[in-house]
Symmetry: C2
Subunit: 252 residues, 2 copies
């Protein structure tokens, strides 16, 4: 799959010290990656950075230039370490202002819960100018989109709701990416040469080889991925023929 | 914690299409992050990139310049999509040659297993010049270090063995990073203002606020992190006093 021919390219920017200190195992990457794959969007790069203004601003600018869509997660809550909105404003030279729609959402939400909409919570309605809000059906405080950057919550449940309910319906479906895999209980060195030749003959698809090593299960998963389903099926046929001849058992 | 005063800074470069397609949930980030934290090393950034030469070379050069240590995972196996060694050689202007020590390791390993050391497997002994090998007690094929870049396997079991058995003993212990946390069953908006003041008064430590939202468990974990244990304890005391006064229950 040639990179430069694609237009539905994606990057993710994960913002949060908790991931980098090892306290939290990130799951947002895998969720967005899986959704992008199903939607025909091609995730090209992920960065994880600290709650550090300079680092966030630099990453926002770089990724926004390099890819068609950027999804950020984390840093849009009410506390002092939530600095994503401020960084997005600086990165794209916007002002950070009290967004009327967002303000209304918070007023209604906290009124219903009989909780005070204090100064800290009000911060969640301070959003860069000319941003489009992203709906949060879980806890109201919205995400937002500036240029090609979609700014999402870090809490998985909220991030997932934003993505599934508001973002996906807005994304044009990309060209479908097909993916199939074959599993063998042999080390990848046994089939490396054949796979290399196969990849050379099928340049328009990606053939990936992924060893697994969890004794007694030792083996290799071979993944075929690309826009051309016919090429994938043909390549798989050739591999299966080879495996049969070499007396290597496989699971499709 | 000021960034520029630190010398034990770390970045991770995760190489592999399988993470970006969502097929595989990465666990290497969390493992290395946790070890770095325990060793007093400060993980500043993580990037995940495709099996793409240009992207890998660019990331290697950038991260190697910005941080004291870079750990890469993935792409050092025997198949056509394993291109990390080649990229490291190009990035740091070294030649990729058959490393005698690595060759010997492979000869012995495959002889013991009565498996053919074929041309594909031999690729795992092709390593940039002037590299230092990293021991692999699981499957022999070594990792290696070039400049400040430690090149590790992607299979978690192998990566972990390399890290624990060979790399950790070589790392000078950094200044111990202390970390303590308090959990409350209240949304973070309830304590955001107090935390902000607390952070302003304790600038040498990091105070992080992490909401969790898995009904019926909704609440906030507050994490105190830094080199000064005394400051952490003092800040925690003040928080607990505040929570008691505000009648918010907490778990230390």
């Amino acid at each position: 799959m040639k990179v430069n021919k694609e237009f539905n390219t994606v990057a993710i920017l994960i913002i949060g010290n908790e991931i980098l200190s090892g306290k939290t195992q990130d799951t947002n990457l895998n969720f967005i990656a899986t959704r992008c794959n199903d939607l025909g969007y091609s995730l090209k790069e992920v960065r994880v950075v600290r709650d550090d203004k300079k680092q966030i601003i630099k990453s926002l600018r770089e990724l926004s230039k390099m890819y068609n869509n950027v999804f950020t997660t984390g840093g849009i809550g009410p506390t002092h370490d939530d600095i994503t909105a401020e960084c997005v404003a600086i990165a794209f030279k916007r002002k950070l202002v009290l967004n009327k729609k967002a303000h209304k959402l918070l007023i209604d939400h906290y009124k219903n819960l009989d909780i005070e909409l204090n100064e800290s919570r009000l911060k969640m309605a301070k959003i860069p100018t000319k941003a489009k809000l992203i709906k949060n059906s879980v806890s109201s405080a919205p995400g937002f989109k500036v240029k090609n950057v979609w700014v999402l919550a870090g809490v998985p449940k909220i991030m997932q709701a934003m993505f599934l309910e508001d973002i996906e319906p807005q994304l044009n479906k990309g060209k479908k990416i097909f993916s199939k895999s074959i599993k063998i209980l042999k080390p990848e060195g046994d089939i490396a040469e054949f796979l290399s030749t196969l990849q050379s003959n099928y340049k328009k698809i990606d053939i990936g080889s992924y060893p697994f090593y969890t004794p007694p299960n030792i083996g290799t998963t071979i993944i075929f991925r690309g826009y051309e389903n016919k090429s994938i099926n043909n390549a798989i046929k050739l591999l299966c023929k080879y495996l049969t001849k070499a007396k290597i058992q496989f699971l499709e």
